[in-house]
Amino acid sequence: MKYLLLLVMCLSPTYVFAGEAKDLAEDPVLEKRMIVLAEKLRCLVCQNESLASSHSELAEDLRREVREQMSKGMDDDQIIDYLVERYGDFVLYDPRVKGSTLLLWFGPFLLLGGGGVMLFYQLRKRKRTLAETDAELTPEAAQRAAQMLNEQKDTQA
């Protein structure tokens, strides 16, 4: 019994703090749709929080706005356009693909490609140097190498 009580006590706080910032939801389906959309949008006041999780007043107002527009029958893209018109691309966690964001979207692939090309040339160069050094040693070179190896052995001993 004691352990059961302890277990309940340990678990209960997780239930208390779970869930997003709540507003009174009249229509649970619409509310859910609003939360899904708001998770993709950034709150401008607490900039690292989504519109769904932020408790700031502006976020509450914007959730109200989104909710109202949804009940007016606007689709998600129209609502996103509405917010971008007012607050700019900053509200989007996924920036749109356009001229100024091309580098952002495709820069990493550019770097990957560049790295691949560099790796290719480096490997080819390495192969060539290895091929050169693998060539048969001339008798003089072999003798010199043996001599150097012996010297090293002597100093180590």
Partner: protein
């Protein structure tokens, strides 16, 4: 030599970009409304709710729209600057009392002085959303055609007035 030159150049360029980034203010989100028509609104006046004020009334004039609230801390810092500006009669300043109780707003203007030609009440914050307000105070410079030409995010300072707002107002008034 060349082997080390390129990585070094890349490092210097990258460090340069990062250094510039350090000086930027992440709170200042550029407004997409610059050079766009100011969203039209008609609201009750703060002092006399039976009277309305419409942004359309300002056509033909360069004016400033200052978003303020009695609960806004940085507005206190901005307030003397606006009082000084109002006394110079260069450009009319209109106030948008944002998400505020009417009595609180009125009391604030009584105590600190009223730099506005008039203020309107945006109790629900809806006009604020139309203007993309996210951090009060904010100030918009609106030209004779009703186009937003500049937005000051955060308090208007003596410096921002001198360097940005007033030169822009003077230029727009000449047009």
């Amino acid at each position: 030599m060349m082997r080390f030159l390129w990585p070094f150049v890349i490092f210097v360029v990258l460090a340069g970009f990062l250094f510039i980034g350090l000086g930027l203010n992440p709170r200042e989100v550029p407004s997409p409304l610059i050079d766009k028509p100011a969203p039209a609104f008609t609201l009750q006046q703060l002092h006399d709710p039976s009277q309305q004020f419409s942004s359309q009334d300002m056509k033909g004039q360069v004016w400033l729209l200052n978003v303020w609230a009695s609960w806004c801390v940085s507005c206190r810092q901005e307030h003397p600057v606006l009082m000084d500006l109002a006394s110079q009669n260069i450009v009319p300043v209109y106030g948008l009392d944002y998400k505020d109780k009417r009595e609180d707003g009125l009391a604030w203007l009584r105590n600190g002085g009223d730099p506005y030609v008039l203020s309107v009440s945006d109790t629900e914050g809806r006009i604020g959303i139309d203007y993309g307000v996210y951090g009060v105070p904010e100030t918009y410079v609106i030209d004779k055609q009703g186009v937003i030409r500049y937005k000051q995010i955060g308090p208007v300072t003596v410096q921002s007035l001198k360097e940005k707002i007033l030169p822009m107002v003077a230029e727009l008034q000449r047009k």
